[in-house]
């Protein structure tokens, strides 16, 4: 039976292993993601690995809403995993993609998501070389869940890890913070508001390549996704057994993001990003690294936002623009708009 890409819906047979599934895989996934390794048509991709240290990562994408200003679950599933590979100081090579589809999910939406995923993969130059599709009964999933895995090879001489921050090191963020989370909030049910803010979702591996060329001695790379910059820095402070001191005035935040957060009672430091990275480097590398980042299209708004200090309590604190000092804590639960 022909697939109805306009008003058709995912049916249980699309995951059943029969002709309907073969048709979905051929017409949709294989044609969108086409590359020699995938086109070979095996249950696995076979390739030669380059010499050196490899990184491997996996991430599940279960977002709601599926489409948001500046992206969708498809592009996010590519960018997120490419970035997780890149944050290992590595060049991403290949991705895999697993889809869990809910019975009744519109085929037109699925097509849109897959096209967006294919475009993100092509733009990043990181092909999706193997994949899997399952269909679950209506009510057993939320539209579509995507899991991607990625592998890559670490650049020569680079060694980044979350436990390598040292007192005196400098903390750099690659651009404005909070864009993704606020874009998602602006379309979330019950909270819709008009806004020009778009998600910053993008692959950062080219920026990382530039950074490790300029400063191969950089110590930590991390993308501040869920929990935002605050959660990420707290994790790094724990892992490295250090404290951190931020300068609020130095944080790059779009006025629209500040405004939306102020109105909703949120703190941009806790809002998710999908196209930004945090970097910790020795002080002598900082200026050179910052200049190189700013010269790169993905790091134009990069800024030094603080430094690593010795602190047995592993506190992340911030000098406020107002002139005080405060803790930047982990997020407790989910960040929620205030009551009054």
């Amino acid at each position: 039976m022909k697939l109805d890409w306009v008003s058709g819906r995912v049916e249980l047979t699309h995951g059943g292993g029969g002709r309907a599934m073969a048709r979905l895989v051929d017409e949709l996934f294989k044609s969108a993601f086409s590359n020699p390794l995938l086109d070979a048509g095996n249950d696995q991709a076979t390739f030669t690995v380059p010499a050196g240290r490899m990184v491997m990562t996996t991430d599940g994408y279960v977002i709601h809403p599926l489409f948001f200003p500046g992206g969708d679950i498809g592009s996010l599933a590519v960018h997120g995993t490419v970035n997780d590979v890149a944050m290992g100081g590595a060049r991403p090579l290949y991705l895999s993609a697993g889809f869990i589809l809910e019975e009744g999910f519109p085929l037109a939406d699925l097509k849109r998501i897959v096209a967006s995923m294919a475009a993100a993969s092509a733009e990043a130059g990181v092909p999706i070389v193997t994949g899997d599709t399952k269909v679950v009964e209506r009510g057993k999933a939320d539209g579509v869940f995507i899991t991607t895995a990625g592998i890559g090879v670490v650049y020569d001489g680079v060694e980044v890890s979350s436990d390598r921050a040292r007192p005196g090191d400098v903390i750099i963020v690659s651009g404005t913070i909070g864009d993704h989370g606020v874009a998602i909030l602006s379309v979330r049910e019950g909270l819709e508001f008009d806004s020009e803010i778009r998600s910053d979702s993008m692959a950062l591996h080219r920026l990382v390549e530039t950074m490790v060329q300029v400063a191969p001695g950089l110590r930590v790379l991390r993308d501040p996704t869920r929990g935002g910059v605050a959660a990420t820095l707290n994790e790094l402070a724990q892992a490295s057994a250090v404290g951190m001191e931020l300068d609020e005035a130095a944080l790059p935040i779009r006025p629209q993001v500040r405004g939306a957060c102020e109105l909703l009672g949120l703190d941009p430091l806790y809002v998710a990003n999908e196209g930004k990275l945090l970097c910790i480097c020795p002080p002598e590398d900082a200026d050179r690294l910052l200049a190189a980042m700013r010269a790169h299209p993905q790091g134009q708004d990069a800024a030094i936002i603080g430094q690593v200090v010795a602190d047995d309590h592993r506190f992340v604190t911030m000098a406020t623009s107002f002139g005080g000092r405060r803790v930047v804590d982990w997020l407790a639960g989910e960040q929620l708009p205030r009551i009054c």
Partner: protein
């Protein structure tokens, strides 16, 4: 950010702080209660206490709606939520507040109870329209600020004939709490009060006049930005120095003396005084809260589900009861930061971002370590 940054100007703040420092008189103490949770949050977030002279002491008050709601009321909400015929809509903060036996709305939700986080009462109405086969109960909490939206939602449901909508009303009022603090036997010494800004936008500032007169207490209604608060503190210091006890309005850009008569009229139309209501920390206070008028009983969750109220004592080690009355500081509680943290709150003051404990934990606790190290 226009109209916000102006009120967060650090240089201007230090100027006002310097004036406060110059005007406080030696040998005098200035114990000032910041009544409202919004003020507590701002003071902690901007580190205002660092700017003030030692004789000016800020004492956090009871004006955090999540904090003063007693465990028994949380239990009732959980009981409602666990009914299969009910969808409970709540502001997000309430989900983590512990009920009896380590239960919470969040736990009930994980167990399969229909609990929805909403951002406004209008969202709860929407849920009711979308689920005609369920009773949709809005967990209404808060002071005079959040009362008008609850009243409007009920009137809207009434007008639409939305019979599956109900309010679980827990609205409380500010003046009785202030009276309870001032008449309490173990009263915290107070030279002045920073009066609630948003509440007063509804009630007007004149409701505080009797307090200023009867207790010779300077009161300044304040906005929520750091410069607002510093200016309010300066105004209080000046009242104390001059021996005045007046209600002054620092928040002139939002607050008219008469408040918002229209909002009060809507409250009056829907709600009536509850003879008695239990508050965390204060116990049962007469005429301190609102209930739904009998003519709207069909929209009253308590009437509809015949909810009995059971008072539950607080956790033995929890000092929330003293903290909301200003008798203790968060760091005086022996489980602060150990058994009680925002991830595992034992008391309500650790839950809401406006709670004194949560604010001190989130923004100020590094000072305890510094003081500990200095000793």
């Amino acid at each position: 950010m226009k109209y916000v940054d102006e009120y967060r100007d650090g240089a201007r703040a230090r100027e006002i702080a310097a004036v406060i420092g110059a005007e406080v008189q030696p040998g005098r103490r200035y114990n000032i209660m910041d009544f409202c949770g919004g003020h507590t949050h701002s003071i902690a977030r901007f580190g205002l206490e660092d700017l003030l002279p030692p004789s000016v002491r800020l004492i956090h008050g009871p004006g955090c709606p999540v904090c003063v709601l007693p465990t028994g009321r949380i239990d009732s909400a959980i009981e409602l939520a666990r009914r299969p015929d009910v969808i409970l809509c709540s502001y997000g903060d309430m989900l983590r507040v512990p009920g009896s036996g380590r239960d919470s709305l969040l736990k009930a939700k994980a167990d399969g109870a229909a609990v929805r986080i909403v951002y406004s009462t209008l969202d709860a109405l929407k849920v009711a329209r979308q689920n005609p086969d369920k009773t949709v109960v809005f967990f209404a909490i808060g002071f005079e600020t959040t009362t008008p939206p609850s009243a409007l939602a009920l009137l809207q449901a009434h007008a639409e004939g939305l019979e599956n909508f109900a309010l679980f009303c827990n609205h409380v009022m500010t003046p009785p709490a202030m009276r309870a603090i001032l008449t309490s036997e173990e009263r915290v010494p107070l030279e002045g009060v920073i009066g609630p800004g948003h509440v007063s936008v509804i009630t007007g500032s004149q409701v505080y006049q009797p307090f200023a007169e009867q207790w010779q207490l300077p009161i300044v209604i304040s906005g929520f930005e750091p410069l607002d608060l510093l200016q309010a503190i300066l105004m209080l210091v000046r009242q104390v120095n001059n021996g005045r006890a007046e209600v002054e309005n620092q928040y002139a850009r939002a607050l008219q003396q008469d408040g918002n008569p229209k909002a009060r009229q809507v409250i009056e139309q829907v709600f009536t005084l509850r003879p008695s209501f239990e508050w965390r920390g204060f116990g049962a206070l007469p005429d301190s809260a609102l209930s739904i008028r009998p003519e709207f009983a069909a929209f009253d969750a308590e009437a509809r589900f015949a909810l009995p109220y059971r008072s539950v004592p607080d956790h033995k080690a929890c000092a929330c009861a003293e903290i909301v009355r200003g008798l203790k500081r968060p760091q005086d509680c022996r489980i602060f930061g150990t058994a009680c943290t925002p991830d595992h709150p034992v008391g309500s003051c650790m839950v809401s971002s406006e709670g004194a404990c949560a604010a001190h934990w989130a923004y100020g606790r590094f000072r305890d370590q510094q003081q500990g190290a200095a000793q």
